[in-house]
Symmetry: C2
Subunit: 295 residues, 2 copies
């Protein structure tokens, strides 16, 4: 959503183009169908997807990114904006497909208590990786270590030297095999100094960069050459045809309590702008959800 607030995006897919002033913001959401002329969706269906506006009623004309929810009462509907929706698939395909993890790999996740990061860490633990995360408050660091089962974690806002912090936490494991990148800028520079030979960097986001007039520069890119690192950006939408595969993986873990998910739910459309802006200073704890309307 932040990206689409640029006025100067190049023409492309409608769902990636600049927002029009005066129109509702469109993002990912959960909704109930109140009327439908589309054969795949009928009145009463619950859906999640990308074309749902920040409004009480949305008219969806191109439902290509709309998924039906087979609702069961033991799963909160908000999960379809998080662990069972776009952020969950982002964590799953970014980590497993781009990260190419194997048991014993050393994984580092920035923005680790966020919508995606908290899942990457838990997925990594499930397959026997050593996982370190960073976040921006003492409370979040505690969450990482206690609730999400990270092996170690640090508060990046309290570290003057991110390179030293990574060396301290990754030292005995000799560096990082997989970096799940949500932040960019200085963090990426520090990580490059601590990657292992043949490491993988899954570029999921660079939240530190989106609000800058000029992007920060990165100095240590030569490490990608010398350490034969693979760095790859990915877009979750390219995996949407594998949604059922993802559900088959993640639902049992949720039902058995082996994966947990923390959400930060604010109420009312009027809380939306502050919730969105708060992401860039890390005000949220866990997946930020705005409840716009309720039946």
């Amino acid at each position: 959503m932040r990206g689409r607030m640029q006025g100067d995006l190049p023409p492309g897919k409608p769902e990636l183009s600049s927002y029009s002033l005066g129109s509702p913001i469109v993002g990912y959401g959960v909704a109930r169908v109140v009327d439908s002329r589309h054969s795949d969706f009928k009145k009463g269906d619950l859906v999640w997807g990308r074309t749902i506006g920040w409004e009480e009623y949305s008219l969806i004309t191109a439902p290509e990114y709309l998924f039906k929810i087979n609702h069961t009462d033991d799963i909160p509907l908000s999960h379809y904006t998080g662990i069972l929706g776009m952020p969950g698939m982002t964590a799953y395909f970014g980590f497993f497909d781009i990260g190419s993890p194997k048991e014993g790999d050393r994984v580092y996740v920035s923005s680790a208590s966020g919508a995606v990061g908290q899942l990457v860490g838990q997925f990594a633990k499930l397959i026997g990786c050593y996982v370190v995360g960073s976040a921006g408050s003492k409370e979040k660091v505690e969450l990482l270590k206690t609730k999400f089962g990270f092996d170690d974690a640090f508060n990046y806002k309290e570290e003057h030297d991110l390179d030293a912090a990574l060396k301290r936490l990754m030292y005995f494991t000799e560096g990082i095999d997989i970096y799940f990148e949500n932040v960019g800028g200085k963090m990426l520079d520090a990580v490059l100094l601590n990657m292992r030979h043949h490491g993988r960097i899954a570029l999921c986001g660079m939240i530190s960069q989106y609000n800058l007039e000029q992007p920060e520069s990165v100095h240590n890119l030569i490490a990608v050459l010398f350490k034969q690192i693979r760095m790859e950006g990915f877009a979750v939408a390219e995996y949407y045809d594998q949604y059922s595969k993802f559900l088959d993986f993640v639902l049992p873990y949720i039902k058995e309590g082996k994966i947990v998910y923390v959400e930060d739910i604010t109420e009312g459309l009027e809380s939306g702008p502050a919730a969105l802006i708060g992401l860039f200073s890390g005000r949220n704890v866990g997946r930020q959800v705005v409840k716009v309307a309720q039946e």
Copy 2:
């Protein structure tokens, strides 16, 4: 060789560690065996490999990177320091394995008339890519367009704005699918602005960076995220077990004259230092070879 002239390389494989002052420089070369206690090599054999010193006679104690040459008179022995040796394999595996090319892809090669670049361009043409190269003189640009068959080429030293140069040459092809990176720094930054969605960047070298006290910074890395680019460093030594596969591919093309190779041969050990230093200003045209000794 330039890399090993750093005094502060971390301990690692002997062939990647810092040179010792007072010892001969070791690099890739062609030699004839004058004596051997190793069962794989016998007196009279011709060999190429990484452990051959800049000296008339070398003692090779660890021949793991030594390959026997099945010499035929129609191939110059110098080719085993180039098209049939390390640079040839670098171009082949870097382009085909890391670049994942397909017919019609738009390929850009920097340092394109060099030991590796001239081959990447020719390999790319063989499979039906559109290929643009850059080099540092009018003579080299002419070589690219006439001798090596690049579709287009430019002299980077005459361009004030590399981004504009790439847009001019790649414009009607809508950008770059594969960038074969030999240069780094400003060139990489300009390329990132011109990569296509799902482009690949094969990081082979960053010669603009090796002699800098501090590496240049790169500003446009966010393109890797937004365009879902894969950027990957590679090391040719990891492909050496596939040398025969490479020979089977390349030898027929050489014999049929469908691939050409330009070498810049200087005579005598005393010409070595200037030849090495000349690489960093682009004094050489084609593969730089130093003939240290001859039978």
